[in-house]
């Protein structure tokens, strides 16, 4: 079962991303952790495609094609996220996510 290796790797990568999102205070680092989670999803897509292709045959390589889509969308998402971080810095002179609590009760 060769597929177990990439799947385990993806799970670990995702966990690292979750930890980063929940624990880092710097917004840039939070954003990077989100990218780690997306990368884990991409790895999962490729690995799953391999499983499906060997068992049922998948000439269209659906999972790998989707991986490319996710990478593209991830790049766009980083663009939006960094723009928000930049505005946050301009307004507050720091990028701590703890301090950005305007939505508090």
């Amino acid at each position: 079962m060769a597929a177990i290796y990439p799947l385990t790797f993806a799970a670990l990568l995702f966990s690292v991303g979750v930890y980063g999102v929940l624990s880092r205070r710097n917004a840039v680092l939070v954003l990077m952790s989100v990218e780690l989670m997306i990368a884990a999803v991409v790895v999962n897509l490729v690995a799953m495609n391999e499983i499906v292709a060997t068992q049922m045959g998948d000439p269209l390589l659906t999972g790998q094609a989707f991986a490319l889509f996710v990478l593209g969308i991830g790049a766009a998402e980083v663009g939006v996220g960094l723009a928000i971080v930049l505005l946050l810095y301009r307004n507050r002179a720091n990028v701590n996510v703890d301090d950005a609590e305007l939505m508090k009760y």
């Binding site: 929940l22 609590e101 508090k104 009760y105």
Partner: protein
Amino acid sequence: MIAELSWLIPAVPAVSAALIFLIGKRLPRHGAEIGITAMAATLVLAIAVAAQVWRANVGVTIDPEGGGGAFLLERAVTLAPLGEDIAVQLGMRVDGLAAMMFVLVALVSLMVHIYSVGYMHGDARYTYYFGLLSLFSFSMLLLVIASDLLVLLVGWELVGVCSFLLIGFWWERKEIQDASMKAFLTTKFGDVGLVVAVVALGGATGSFAIGDILEAVEAGEVSHGLLTFALIAMILGVVGKSAQFPLHTWLPDAMAGPTPVSALIHAATMVTAGGFLVARLYPAFHESAAATGTLAVIGAITLITAGLLALVQSDVKKVLAYSTISQLGYMIAGLAFSYVAGVFHLFTHGFFKALLFLGAGSLIHAAGSNHMEAMGGLRRFMPITFWTFLLGSLALIAVPPFAGFWSKDEVLVSALDAGGYTGILVFALGGVGGLITAFYMTRVLYLVFAGQYRGHGQPHESPASMTFPMIVLAVAAVGIGWVNLPVEAVQARAFSSWVMYDLGYWVEHPVEFHPFLALMATVLALAGVLGAWAIYRTYPERDPMYHLGIVSHVLERRYYLDDLYTDLISRTAVRDLMGPAAAWTNDAVLDGVVAGAGRGAMGLGRRLYRTGDQKGLEGVVNGLGVSALWSAARVRLAQSGNVQLYAGAMFVGVVVLAVAFAVGGN
């Protein structure tokens, strides 16, 4: 097969109406030219179709055993399925009856269009008027051609709407608004019955198509009780539309509209729709003695009461209106006994009554008043109007050989042949009605045309656009009765064969010409003429009709029917009797109950307030509020504004869900 193109007959006026409303105002003749062209085309088509039916029906030798064989053309497109197996069909059913109505409607409508060019000249809403005329012609022809009772109902309501709009054409005056509203609501009251009848017949036979319904009824598939119920309900619609007793009160008020409209709608076409409907479903009516008996009694009452009312009117249009009601009574009563009698009278009456209304319009145009007191001596000023009006009157009085004589005679003969109580009733009242008709028409002739002019200004003959239609209709009034001559030499009973739905009908219903009966009817008519002549010859101004004491009074008050409807029912019964009764009930009974209940409630309330409310409920309510505040203070802490806390909550949630799926999914 020109009859295949019959659908064009209603379609052409429909297009004409649309064109007049859209571009009529910008045309040199303001839309009148479109309407007249369209109606002329319709008339040509109608005559072509009628001729084809004539060739197919008239002169055919009838097999005494088989019967049948009358011309019938049915074409339909299914519009919408209703549920499982009932469908609405937009279709045409062209037979002798429809062909006859095509000719009648198209000819009278064309004449009224031409006449209106002169009569409505200079009116502020000239284009709108012609648009409505075309719209009405379309609606009436749709009603006639419909092969489906639902489509027929659409036409039926459309003519009602057009009638409403045209009666209220000069809507600036309050009484005209009231008249149009009265006409609309009164006929609408009858239409409820028609809708019930249509639904009952459609439900009983599983189809709204007239052909299917008649087949089912003739095959005995509809139970007799249900059929009688449906037909009696339908008679209610007929009574409303054809202004039969006791729903006739709207028609005299409808005279508030322009006179050509009265000629077209309230004399020749729309008011005969009731008779047409009965004729359309005649095989069904034939099955139910109760329905035909009702028709006979209603027709007999109407023809005599309306005839008497015509005696005391001073407004020339109202005389004609009551006369129309009376003649419609003849039609309905005739239909009770014989298909041909009613349909033939409908046909001839359409021509000569339209002529009389157009003549009245010409008189009103000249004298500037509806009232016969303001006329007199007009024979010298208006020769064409005089002669055409005289011919129309002779046809209405039923002097041989004018049109009305042949058709009214047919009604009386069929009633006498049928016998029984209803037959004798219709025969006797119809004979007396002929005398009355002769009397009131002679009165009109004397008051309007004899003696000295009593109005203002100098009366003058109407323009050619108005006299031409009168001349055309006068020719019809003189000659149209001859299409059904009971003489072997000239195609005997041609009209009857032409409109007949089943040529075998003649085997069972041979209608003979009774020379003695015809002589008697003529003598009665002449007696009426002579009576009126004796009275009005010398002093047309001193009208004895207003000096008959209680009789005049009752007639002038129109049998108190209007008083019954407005004063007794809506005012006395509802306002004066039911109102005070309701007020007394309100004051004495309801107030007592309410007051007692109030006192009891107050005592109970006070007790409740002290114990239940102050101690129980107040505590609960306050407790609820306090607990809401307290829990809100705890819950709001979740809204920390900390993004990472939210992300963590989401993550925990996803994990919980994932676990739940992993465990529960298996």
